[in-house]
């Protein structure tokens, strides 16, 4: 049975494949090689690897938030705190209960998913701004718990978390951790992609686009909203766990409301309702402050008197860039990428 459209496909399997042409398979393979070769080339630069690891972890968390906010249409201002739940849970499981890393990260994800679903209950009644406030409350409550439940979290002193270890191999350097983070990120991308192109993902989008229609075709809206909160928080929990085992010491400030807002900005800039958008947004938002720091560092060397001012200017530019992005790329980086792609697909006849 043939399906007519731009690229000719002959089976339904092919029609629903993620990468639809040999060419895109080639690019994916190339990208993988680059990603794997990268740390070998830059093995010397701990800073660069640190930035990369931060990006990889951010990608996982951003994908999680995008499933909830971009695909299901439920805004959340508690994503940072959910990462914290995963981080503390994982750290506690390892230091107090002596569980191996792989168990820690999975259980931490599950614990976070449950916490996320509990705080997702208000979404039964609340939408838009009201839900934003309710999830902000979740953020505040969880931060309070991080600070006050000293027996588990170590309070504002923080919690020491040992490095990740799989089968006796410790991921205890930036270089080693990179591969762990990369593996988790690739898995997260694939799983997210599979979720959004199957039953649950379609139900999420149905709820986002038109909840009356969603109900009429038999989608239990509340149940799927909770599932979405669960999945989203699971990703946050896994990201938090990785972060904890990477950075070695976690304090409540790592998971404050600014982090939640930053993740929201990531998915808006990258593109709501797009997995690739989450990746681009996470890369952009994590790299931008680093690039600005680099630039202001260069300037400060030349004009030492201006060091203090450059700090402030950096923050300002960061905000400005985001605002400019929202004005000129309101559909996100993913949409821009699509137009560029389409342009090249038809090249050289792309006028």
């Amino acid at each position: 049975m043939a399906i007519k459209c731009g690229v000719f496909k002959t089976t339904y399997e092919e029609d629903s494949a993620i990468w639809q042409t040999k060419v895109s398979k080639f690019w994916i393979a190339l990208l993988l090689i680059v990603l794997i070769a990268f740390p070998f080339v830059f093995q010397g630069s701990r800073y660069l690897l640190y930035v990369c690891n931060s990006v990889l972890i951010a990608v996982i968390a951003a994908i999680g938030l995008n499933i909830l906010t971009g695909f299901t249409g439920q805004i959340s201002l508690g994503h940072g705190a959910f990462m914290g739940v995963g981080a503390y849970a994982s750290g506690y499981l390892m230091t107090h209960l002596g569980m191996p890393f792989i168990v820690c990260v999975v259980v931490a994800g599950c614990v976070t998913a449950i916490v996320g679903m509990i705080f997702g209950i208000p979404s039964l009644r609340l939408k838009g701004l009201y839900l934003a406030i309710a999830t902000l409350a979740a953020q505040v409550i969880l931060e309070f718990v991080f600070v006050r439940w000293r027996a588990v979290t170590g309070g504002s002193q923080g919690m020491l978390v040992p490095p990740a270890q799989i089968g006796g191999f410790a991921f205890d350097s930036d270089f080693k951790f990179y591969f762990l983070a990369l593996a988790f990120t690739l898995m997260a991308v694939l799983i997210a992609k599979n979720i959004v192109r199957t039953k649950s993902g379609r139900a999420f989008m149905a709820i986002r686009d038109r909840y009356i229609s969603a109900e009429i075709i038999g989608v239990p809206i509340f149940q799927y909203k909770l599932i979405s909160f669960g999945i989203s928080s699971f990703f946050a929990g896994v990201a938090g766990s990785l972060w904890a085992h990477y950075i070695g010491i976690i304090t409540p400030e790592h998971f404050n409301v600014m982090i939640s807002i930053q993740y929201l900005s990531m998915i808006i800039i990258g593109g709501l309702g797009s997995i690739y958008g989450s990746i681009m947004g996470a890369v952009f938002m994590t790299l931008l402050p680093e690039v600005l720091r680099l630039i202001s560092g260069l300037f400060s060397n030349q004009y030492p008197i201006l060091v203090n001012i450059f700090g402030a200017i950096r923050e300002g530019i960061f905000g400005l860039v985001i605002i400019l992005f929202l004005i000129f790329e309101p559909d996100g980086l993913a949409a821009r990428w699509k137009t560029i792609q389409n342009y090249w697909k038809l090249w050289p006849f792309s006028y």
């Binding site: 799983i191 979720i195 199957t198 039953k199 649950s200 038109r210 038999g218 239990p220």
Partner: protein, 268 residues
């Protein structure tokens, strides 16, 4: 033509359905019973309560009084999604589609209640999940073929002309493979050719697929041609019920429609 198609089995019925919004009475003690295999039309002037009756049937509105049954089961207090799962699908007067999705995506969503694989299996996609996806995709393609919308499969619904959107909405309802199909003014805003196509589709789902159809429609020609029985509502009350022939003879019905500016009913 109609021999053997209709069976002596009530698939849907309403008992004394009464619904009001503040001071406005939308439905008043409405009784009805639909038999398996019928095309059962509901007509009446604007604001008579036809769409409200659908909203009661599929659970969007809860009536102050009365009960709705699907076969022997009372469904009055079930949620819309539960009623959809039992086998009742509908289209809306003001199209309720996912406008930013493609036709295909809309129709795959219509398969939602029939998809068996769980979240866990979908994480891996390949294997049982993909196999089932392909099966459902085939069912969707059957519906696409049936309603002759092959050419717009990959189009975003919002970009389609009104008549086609109406057809896509019916397609999505058919993807649920319901026992009962509720259509709310499926021909509204269509030209003659589109109306004829739609009439043909309704006859075909009814006679070939054996689906029971409830039809709200203002085009009296269509209603008289398609219906097995017709119920007439006026100001929320049922004023008549019978075969098209009986309804055309009914003095009360004629009177209710006399108020209509274009005399739509008597015109025929």
């Amino acid at each position: 033509m109609k021999q053997g198609r209709i069976r002596e089995e009530v698939v849907m019925s309403g008992e004394e359905i009464t619904l009001s919004f503040g001071g406005i009475t939308a439905l008043l003690y409405v009784n009805f019973a639909v038999q398996r295999g019928e095309i059962f039309s509901i007509i009446g002037p604007n604001g008579a309560g036809k769409s409200s009756l659908y909203n009661v049937i599929n659970g969007f509105y809860k009536p102050q009084k009365g009960r709705v049954f699907f076969k022997e089961t009372e469904i009055t207090h079930l949620k819309p999604y539960q009623i959809a799962r039992m086998g009742i699908a509908r289209s809306f007067q003001n199209i309720e589609l996912f406008k930013h999705m493609t036709v295909l995506e809309n129709l795959m969503l219509g398969r939602h209640i029939h998809i068996r694989y769980g979240l866990f299996k979908s994480l891996f996609y390949f294997g049982p999940c993909l196999k089932e996806e392909v099966q459902h995709r085939k069912r969707v393609e059957d519906v696409i073929d049936f309603l002759e919308i092959e050419h717009i499969r990959k189009k975003h619904v919002g970009t389609l002309p009104y008549g086609l959107q109406k057809r896509v909405e019916m397609a999505r309802a058919l993807c649920l493979e319901p026992e009962i199909l509720l259509l709310d003014e499926p021909m509204a805003g269509m030209n003659l050719e589109e109306t004829e196509d739609m009439a043909r589709f309704i006859i075909d789902v009814n006679s070939e697929w054996g689906m029971t159809v409830l039809l709200i429609e203002h085009d009296m020609g269509v209603v008289m041609d398609l219906s097995d029985r017709i119920m007439v509502l006026d100001f929320g009350e049922k004023i008549a019920e019978g075969t098209p022939g009986e309804i055309q003879q009914n003095a009360l019905v004629a009177k209710a429609y006399l108020g209509e500016s274009d005399g739509a009913f008597l015109g025929r």
